[in-house]
């Protein structure tokens, strides 16, 4: 183990374990008002009239007419209204906010408001949508020729559902005006995203807006773009009230109306000639919901991963993120990759069956290695450790023997085991880091020789305060306790980019390392000093062109192999997870405990996505699974045997050899789990999550 990997006490441990850490809902300001949003109850309608009850003194309504800047939330595009204008496009769309000093009175007023809607037919089925917000295609080799010359073309369609981030702290923020400026503080991943959105909605200059991240109770992508929307709504209210306004979402509001993982439908045509895979023609649809939010970038990552960890020389990938009258989807750990990795892993399983092979044999034959071309004709520049990972998983689980053993079972209890292999591209897709983010990070040395890290990345539990401080302290050769990293405040810190895309340690951590190296050389005891670094793209990267969808989509990749073993009770259709094993290469861990925590937490979220986290809307477009009672996430008893191992595979351009970590462990759980279910049930399966109800339906066929 590298010295840096040795675990230390986390910087935020003490305040959190003792209950002293203050989250946004724990802050109470003088004269603070409470706000609650009125959400549309129709999926598509024109707003005809809004009838308000009499408002007691000190209570008021905030809506589109109060937006002093542009009534649009700046995300990637500017199409999400801050408050609805003449129409509503999904159930949950915010129409107005009721604000006042007493929360219960605010709720009473909210419940008495009557909205008169002129209903229109909502479009709910993504397959029927003719509005593609985003549309990308790319090709390599000659797919038409491969399809024409194939002995057979294997065609199959796969579906994945919503996944809700289910951070335990719901969305929440406080905005307060002062000295002609506006401050917004709260639970968020990306302070500078919020700043850009709020200044546009208020019509302020950027320097008149201040964003402060409070201790954040989990994000997982759900606090990437959504806080920009909420911040605009609250800032508009605070400006009108000229007082602080706090909004904390309740759980049902959060689950039903905030962004979640895009549901997908992917169709694969696999050309087979002489028992070889000669090409793949892939069509992907993501349900974007009513507005674009982050769908363009989520779709890009999904499409780049569509051929999985396999060398497919003749490839065509086409994808659309389409509009429906449903809640806008957004970022969630994995960011488009879990959907397509599920599909490609399952199609490889099924093609293998067609060929009379076990899926692992087929996958091993096409698995990429260093020097191979990526799907977008970039290159895997570094070692690909999949073979060692497969070997290690096999040793841990006796995988190959069990696969054979579990064929053709009868009896009430049937076991199955499945495996997945996958990667996560580290950092922003394509040229994002170079052209859009342009990260800047700083170190400030104080006269007492302590050092403050100045960056805009947020610790939402993933341990960034600790890992950043370790990198800086170790590089400077000073004590861990001499370095601190406070929650970002845009008045104080430069824009080192958002806390997304498994980029913080690899990209910003590397900037901090370089800043620390320079500071070390210039170090003057007892003096104040500053060291600043700017992002530079590594020179080995083949530049990515989004127009051609070509080049290195990522500088490097994190790798993983998962195996999951199940036992199905064919009488009750319930499934017990006997074991879940994951081997993860995230480069050199900056802190072993933190990385293990990320891998275990992400893997379990992935198993939830695979097996139990079912969310859907009804024929009115209303999400029914809007509570933790109706949308179950894994508890401590669901996967007692969850094993994670780290494989050290240093990355030359990351700090101490680290690369992206946070998202990887979620990406491959679903195909491993569903393949295990196939192994147990003896049928081909094509959807995730694969729930108890799905098992029951499958058993009707199996047992007849």
């Amino acid at each position: 183990m590298e010295t840096i990997s040795k675990s230390v006490k986390k910087k935020d441990h003490e305040s959190k374990v003792s209950g002293r850490a203050l989250y946004v809902d724990d802050h109470i300001m003088d004269d603070m008002l409470y706000g609650r949003l009125l959400h549309s109850v129709k999926a598509k309608a024109r707003l005809v009239n809004i009838i308000l009850p009499e408002l007691s003194e000190g209570y008021f309504i905030v809506d589109k007419n109060d937006v002093t800047g542009l009534n649009r939330v700046h995300i990637v595009l500017d199409d999400t209204p801050v408050y609805a204008e003449d129409t509503v496009e999904y159930i949950g769309e915010p129409i107005l906010m009721v604000v006042g000093p007493n929360f219960k009175e605010v709720e009473r007023i909210l419940n008495e408001i009557v909205v008169v809607y002129e209903e229109q037919d909502p479009l709910l089925d993504m397959r029927k949508s003719d509005t593609a917000f985003f549309n990308y295609n790319y090709e390599k080799g000659d797919i038409e020729k491969a399809l024409q010359e194939a002995d057979r073309v294997f065609i199959e369609t796969f579906q994945t559902g919503y996944q809700e981030q289910a951070y335990i702290e719901t969305q929440g923020m406080i905005a307060y005006p002062h000295d002609g400026r506006m401050t917004v503080r709260g639970s968020m991943q990306c302070p500078y995203y919020v700043l850009g959105a709020v200044s546009k909605a208020l019509g302020y200059n950027d320097q008149d807006v201040q964003i402060i991240q409070d201790v954040t109770g989990g994000g997982f992508g759900g606090k990437e773009a959504f806080p920009s929307i909420l911040a605009c709504q609250i800032a508009v209210a605070a400006k009108k009230a000229n007082k602080p306004v706090k909004v904390i979402f309740d759980r049902r509001e959060d689950m039903e109306f905030t962004s979640k993982r895009h549901p997908s439908i992917s169709t694969y045509k696999v050309a087979i000639k002489d028992n070889e895979i000669t090409g793949m023609d892939i069509d992907v649809i993501f349900n974007s919901g009513a507005y674009t939010t982050l769908s363009s970038v989520v779709l890009q990552r999904g499409l780049i991963c569509a051929s999985g960890a396999y060398r497919i020389d003749n490839l065509r990938v086409a994808g659309r993120a389409v509009k429906t009258n449903t809640v806008p989807c957004g970022a969630y750990r994995g960011f488009g990759a879990p959907q397509t990795f599920f599909a490609v892993e399952m199609v490889m399983d099924h093609v293998a069956k067609e060929m009379g092979l076990d899926s692992l044999e087929l996958k091993e034959k096409y698995m990429v290695k260093q020097g191979d071309a990526t799907s977008t004709s970039g290159e895997y520049h570094f070692h690909v450790p999949l073979p060692e990972m497969i070997q290690q998983i096999n040793e841990l689980t006796d995988y190959r023997a069990k696969r054979k053993l579990y064929k053709n079972q009868t009896g009430r209890y049937r076991k199955g085991i499945g495996m997945s292999m996958f990667f996560h591209g580290c950092g922003f897709t394509g040229s994002g880091e170079r052209d859009h983010i342009k990260a800047v990070a700083k170190l400030r040395k104080n006269a007492d020789d302590t050092v403050d890290i100045l960056a805009s990345n947020t610790d939402m539990g993933q341990g960034l305060k600790t890992t950043f401080c370790k990198i800086v302290a170790d590089t400077l050769g000073i004590l861990y306790d001499q370095v601190s990293y406070n929650n970002p405040d845009t008045d104080r810190v430069p824009d080192s980019g958002p806390t997304v895309a498994s980029r913080s340690v690899m990209i910003v951590g590397e900037l901090l390392k370089r800043a620390a190296e320079r500071l070390k050389q210039e170090w003057k005891t007892g003096e104040e000093q500053v060291s600043e670094e700017h992002f530079v793209e590594p020179d080995f990267v083949i530049p990515f062109s989004i127009e051609e969808f070509k080049g290195d989509a990522y500088p490097t990749y994190s790798w993983s192999v998962n195996a999951i073993e199940v036992e199905v009770d064919t009488l009750t259709a319930t499934t017990k997870i006997l074991g879940a094993w994951g081997i993860f290469d995230v480069g050199v861990p900056i802190d072993t405990n933190i990385i293990l925590g990320q891998m275990q937490g992400g893997f379990l979220q992935g198993i939830g996505y695979a097996s139990m986290e079912q969310m859907d809307y009804n024929d009115q477009g209303r999400i029914r699974n809007n509570s933790l009672s109706d949308y179950s996430i894994p508890t401590a008893v669901d996967v007692p045997n969850l094993v994670t191992k780290i494989m050290n595979n240093p990355y030359t351009h990351g700090p101490y050899g680290a690369k992206g970590a946070g998202e990887l462990p979620l990406v491959g759980a679903a195909p491993a789990y569903v393949e295990a279910m196939e192994n147990a049930l003896g049928v081909n399966l094509t959807k995730a999550p694969f729930t108890t109800e799905d098992t029951m339906k499958a058993l009707l066929g199996v047992l007849k």
Binding site: K10, V17, G19, G218, D591
Partner: protein
Amino acid sequence: MTKFMLNGQDVRSILKANERLLDVLRNEFGISGVKCGCKEGECGACSVILDGRLVNSCMVAVGSIEGSTVITIEGYRETERFAVLDKAYASVSAVQCGFCIPGMVLASECILIKNPNPTEADIRDGISGNLCRCTGYNAIVKAIGIAAKEGEGLW
């Protein structure tokens, strides 16, 4: 009015009897270590120890606890047992976002008070009403096991 003992002190709530204990603790007594995650008894973030039992304070009407004893993280963190749990949680970095942690620590206490030498299955069962979305639970389970060993005699 409801009288009860909160973290070792006699207190009286002047709120209505049907108010949630969660809201009473947070809004009337400024106890911010009790977190609100769902208000429907599913997540365990608002766990407190009520007369020696772990309960979701969002599911308890304050009028029903006349004469009872309530312990939140604010009271518990002053104890020797907390110090052992604190150290154990730190040693395996079991705290990530931290929102479930006050409830989780109180759940740990309730596991160990009932059974000072719990098996892994006992521990998992004992925290199964406290949702954590960050850790996958392994580190928390490990921490409680470490505390059981290190805190010999305390529970």
